[in-house]
Symmetry: C2
Subunit: 228 residues, 2 copies
DNA sequence: TCAAAAGTGTTCTTCGTACACCCATGA
DNA sequence: TCATGGGTGTACGAAGAACACTTTTGA
């Protein structure tokens, strides 16, 4: 190269959460510094000189939103010149999944505010962050069909209908209840507990399920075919 | 961050080529500078300040090996501290596919030498480049099952058996000739030409096929299910 | 007793898989 | 005429898709 390289490296994270009430949601922060001050954006920031990319994501998430996540996967690296109006910044993006407990968030030091937004109601975002969310959603949609990642989004014990609704929310289409259950049960990573759902409202309470982690991680490695 | 960021950004490319004689092969260069001087490595190098990542890949490939490619896709970004023994370097890796014509390569200015290596006979490589090749091969294996990328690796017109052999080489397993053909034909992106294969050796010459680019690109977008 | 949600089984169709014989060509 | 590789069809089984009635609970 003729001149010295002057490029910054950042990480950004698309964190998905799910509850049947809120639907599939994404964690955003409101920026309190320029550029795009007061715009909503993905949590993220520059990578430290001796920090791995994953560590940088976890650190930024902690600083900006107070949460930590147990499922994190690299998505894509965005590097077009001009995507940051001031410097050349390459963003290595990740997507993460959190359980409903983590819906409790606290705006922390680096961000004026942090909040969850339903995937269908994302506000205008800073930089090219809207296209990053689209890419992450697309990845999640395809991933959920061949790996049982959906369970990273549910509580330890859940009624079967929660899993159905999650799949319908992620895939954004209807699924036949009976065929879905048959298919999922056949994989064998679900265990039926003796407990029953505690209702809010009418209807027959469903049995609660949890998952067999050994089988689950094995299938996560092997890949499943989950063409619902 | 407390200190100024000091991280370099590089791109590296895993370029796959295929002929039935050579099998599935990867393009490598022999480094003529330290670190890892005289080791084989993936073509690649630092990204220019005003250059897109894809442009940087194409430029490095041109400089180091003399080839240009028409299929290029981002693979993964490797950023662990210490993967380059001297500086912190983050490598954004790509994989590319070239047609057999491009097997003609010329070692160019930046590299002492460039050569194709069969995927099963890769020499010891500089940096973490062997794991990058493994990741690229894995990606190609899965990609070829749901998108018709295989055709980027064949000539314009080819006998059907070339496609079979390509799939067998990429997936590293046997495929039933008859079932494979039935399935591929059903997708409708293949056109049978009036021409016949010119033989080297005995055997009945096969009809040559080409592909219908409209159908092909449509399926490439939609994705296919190609579980052979 | 009604409304809401959960539990379950059968039939039909589609797709995948296994498999073997004949044909065209060069040596 | 033999060896090599190309061309094709059928039968079986597995898996997916469509689909409706009964049960449990709260109001």
């Amino acid at each position: 190269m003729p001149t010295t390289q002057d490029i910054k490296v950042a990480v950004d994270a698309v964190v998905f959460g799910y509850t049947s009430k809120e639907g599939l949601s994404v964690l955003l922060i409101k920026r309190n510094i320029d550029p795009f001050k007061n715009n909503w954006a993905l949590p993220g920031g520059l990578v430290g000189n001796n920090e791995s990319l994953e560590d940088a994501v976890q650190r930024e998430l902690k600083e900006e939103t107070g949460i930590s996540i147990n499922y994190l996967e690299q998505l894509y690296s965005f590097g077009k010149p001009g995507r940051d109006p001031r410097n050349r910044v390459i963003s290595i993006t990740y997507y993460g999944l959190v359980k409903p407990e983590a819906f409790e968030i606290h705006a922390a030091t680096d961000a004026a505010e942090a909040a969850w937004f339903n995937i269908k109601k994302i506000p205008p975002l800073a930089f090219d962050h809207d296209s990053i969310i689209i890419a992450a959603h697309k990845r999640l949609k395809s991933k959920i069909l061949y790996q049982p990642v959906g369970f990273e989004l549910l509580e330890e014990k859940f009624p079967f209908s929660e899993l159905e609704k999650l799949y319908m929310a992620v895939l954004d289409r209807d699924i036949d209840r009976r065929n879905f259950k048959k298919k999922v049960i056949k994989f064998g990573f679900l265990e039926e507990t003796a407990e029953k759902q505690v209702l809010e409202g009418a209807g027959r309470p469903g049995n609660l399920f949890s998952f067999n982690k050994d089988k689950y991680f094995q299938l996560q490695k092997e890949g499943i075919n989950f063409e619902i």
